[in-house]
Symmetry: C2
């Protein structure tokens, strides 16, 4: 293909400052390549033309051009994904939303913020805060991720147990489909029962049905004060007992996370932090509550008392201030980094019905210890949501190739187990390239056929993020 | 068509007790007809075969049969709709979900209830309550409406301002599509990022994409105590000022409703209740708050104090107990009945961005008073959601036919105004038969084309609730 022609044509359409060709002297090659990949690092990017639209109209012009000329496109956000959803490996045009990072509008009655899709999530938090509001979708990558990417992958994070997934916070979307047509779904009104809700199709569609260019997100009131409880828990079943127990107390539970002893050890090693407990335990639970006033402080202590009395925990403490909140959170949020910097890991991000979790964990542990002899398994995650992050750690003496080959063999057996216990093979990370071959473990044949028909309706030439999801 | 054959074939498939033919001696004709219509009363039902499936398998068998034999079907729930969505007027098979009213499952960890779609909404409230939970979707018709119908029309109601629409409370759905294939969407897990979210397409699709046979709904904690404030408000702009003011107080606002002096008069006339205020006012606002404990009671008084000081209201009172809460609510909930029993009315149910509401009301009032000389206009609704119920009252000396003909002429002019102010021609009631010709006022051409393509993917022969929505 003649990429110089593509570059020239696009420059004519949207302006030459917004179009870059690989090695045209305007951008370092490594940086250029980084726009065509994500955090999976499994799929090397391979593409020639990168564009930086500044408006929905720019995006519509690019996709219309691509549609007429049968060229595929890949939308590129903050590239923090773990499923290869943002990888351009076949000469696609990469459409970076990075320059589309402005506030479009704010509605104080609805409590909504209308932004361009390339706004960095952390900046959206700030914009909300400046207006006296709070945007509750939060996770480790918000300093880099874009709100558009968050929506395209239906992001979750640490406070889903209280606030839900990002799907619950999207009131309106502006989207360009695979023909270059622009849809504007709601945004100004709360209620609109006029036919099918197409908006929700785009949330979690990983850029395969349309390119999200603008979003209207709902905001809420900031939590008054936050307090973290960190617990040492002897047995898995106690985690569920603690979770149910918290329902009896009249305090908003913002987060309910867990980790194993192995994870705690790795964080201690990597961050050089002390053990927060006197004696080791097999599991640890981190709970975050919203509190306001003294009576809530008392409730906090009565929760701790109640679960200690019932012998659900062997040790536990309540953070005394916001600095200590952060210290406790480090033991949970430092896990991914501690593992991936020191080891090679194979990640899975799965979800199970909580009531099936114990039986699943038993069978999974016996499967994995049989199949992965000598491998370490790091288990942690948003247990209140039934969401496990499962990292298999490569032994030092095994080659990467051998390790990943082995993982690839075991994955389908684990997915079979997940299916048996009515879980999902991807809780938060999505399908992308990485789990495409396994979609049938979580979706039925007729669902997959219907998804294909829907893809065709929005993107008849299949030029939007091809090869992902379906 | 040979309806006796249809009856016999279906009896063979699902059992003869579940199949009734018109005038076969098992059901009174008026009752039979009532299963093929709703509250619009504009479209006379005309059909011959009524079935009462008891399971998803029954529904799948019926639709498979209909698909093979090119017969259309109409799903029939509690038939409380106002848009003709449940009308069978062309010899369709009517599928009543009335016998599918059982609890299937309860998950105490997720706080979800799995029920069959024919469960009456009020009964679902009770089932939730018995388990220590609360299902917050509530409105006047819950004693008759089915949860499946609520979902198929994305029901709202009086507490949307706090709890959202029913869409926000559906975790899982079981649906039979137009080929008789069954989908099971989630239900057991909170997180499942594996491809397109097809579930949301069915919510609000009015039975045109599939028949909802089971639903898993989320539950929440019951509100602790509820307190109603009723206010007399001199000008429209004060309503918005009060709404914004309530955001500054740290009390959950469960409902924010309004009515005009004309509505209050009609309720007083019809129910024989006294005027709740000393002096008449042009508008009235009803606010409902969740309270717990004395400090919240104080907050309630400080809200009233603050809006009185700012002269947003001329009069107001706080209900002192739950009986008084109910008394206050009667002035709002009695409006529809007071109007429709004593008068002929033409209903519209519209939504506008709150910030455009005042300008819209000005233009609408001048349009309607010009077009409807001598007509009364009753305005009330969920103003906190930007949702107006607009009832035009027929003068006594005009015939029904003349009245409705006039309304039909004015509606498109009003819809043009709604479009101008970025509102929706149907906030809660849906499209059905009644607003089908006006869909383009709220959805773009490319959206409508996409909806058609999606309809084709789920219902290739167009046998599901034909003629509705699209």
């Amino acid at each position: 293909m003649d990429f110089s022609k593509t570059k020239n044509d696009l420059s004519q359409l949207i302006g030459d400052k917004k179009v870059i060709q690989k090695n045209d002297g305007t951008m370092d090659e490594a940086l250029f390549n980084s726009y065509g990949t994500d955090r999976t690092k499994v799929y090397p990017p391979n593409y020639q033309v990168l564009v930086f639209p500044e408006s929905t109209e720019d995006v519509a012009a690019i996709v219309s051009y691509a549609y007429k000329n049968d060229i595929a496109v890949v939308p590129s956000g903050g590239r923090t994904g773990y499923a290869g959803g943002a990888v351009a490996k076949n000469g696609e045009i990469v459409i970076s939303l990075s320059k589309m990072d402005k506030v479009v509008d704010f509605d104080p009655f609805l409590g909504t913020l209308h932004v361009q899709a390339g706004m960095i999530t952390k900046n959206l938090h700030k914009e909300a805060e400046e207006r006296g509001f709070y945007f509750p979708v939060d996770f480790a990558a918000t300093g880099s991720s874009h709100i558009g990417g968050n929506i395209a992958t239906n992001a979750g994070g640490v406070r889903v147990v209280h606030y839900g997934l990002i799907r619950d916070w999207v009131l309106g979307l502006t989207v360009v489909n695979g023909k270059g047509e622009t849809y504007k779904f709601n945004g100004e009104i709360l209620k609109n029962n006029t036919g099918y809700d197409l908006k929700h199709l785009f949330i979690g569609s990983e850029g395969t049905l349309g390119i999200i260019t603008e979003a209207v997100v709902k905001l809420t009131k900031p939590p008054k004060d936050i307090r973290v409880i960190f617990l040492a828990v002897p047995e898995y079943k106690n985690i569920l007992e603690i979770f149910r127990e918290t329902h009896n107390f009249d305090l908003p539970l913002l987060a309910f996370e867990f980790l194993t002893d192995y994870c705690l050890d790795k964080v201690k090693e990597h961050l050089g932090v002390p053990d927060p407990f006197q004696a080791p335990s097999k599991y640890y639970v981190l709970m975050e509550f919203e509190v306001s006033g003294e009576s809530d402080e008392e409730k906090l202590y009565s929760i701790l008392e109640s679960i200690t009395e019932k012998e659900f925990v062997t040790d536990g403490s309540i953070a005394q201030n916001s600095r200590q909140n952060e210290t406790f959170w480090k033991y949970r949020e430092g896990i991914s980094e501690s593992l991936s910097l020191a080891y090679t890991v194979h990640k899975n991000d799965i979800s199970l019905p909580l009531r099936n979790m114990e039986a699943f964990l038993d069978e999974m542990t016996s499967l994995l210890t049989k199949k992965y002899q000598g491998f370490h398994i790091a288990l942690f995650g948003h247990i209140g949501d039934g969401n496990l992050h499962l990292n298999i750690v490569k032994p030092k003496d095994l080659s990467d190739a051998e390790f990943f080959a082995q993982c690839k063999q075991v994955d389908p057996e684990m997915f079979t187990l997940i299916q048996k216990f009515k879980g999902s093979i991807s809780a938060e990370h999505g399908i992308g390239l990485l789990k495409k071959d396994y979609l049938n473990f979580s979706r039925s044949e007729s669902e997959i056929n219907t998804m294909r028909a829907i893809k065709l309706a929005f993107d008849p030439k299949g030029i939007l993020n091809p090869g992902k999801v379906l």
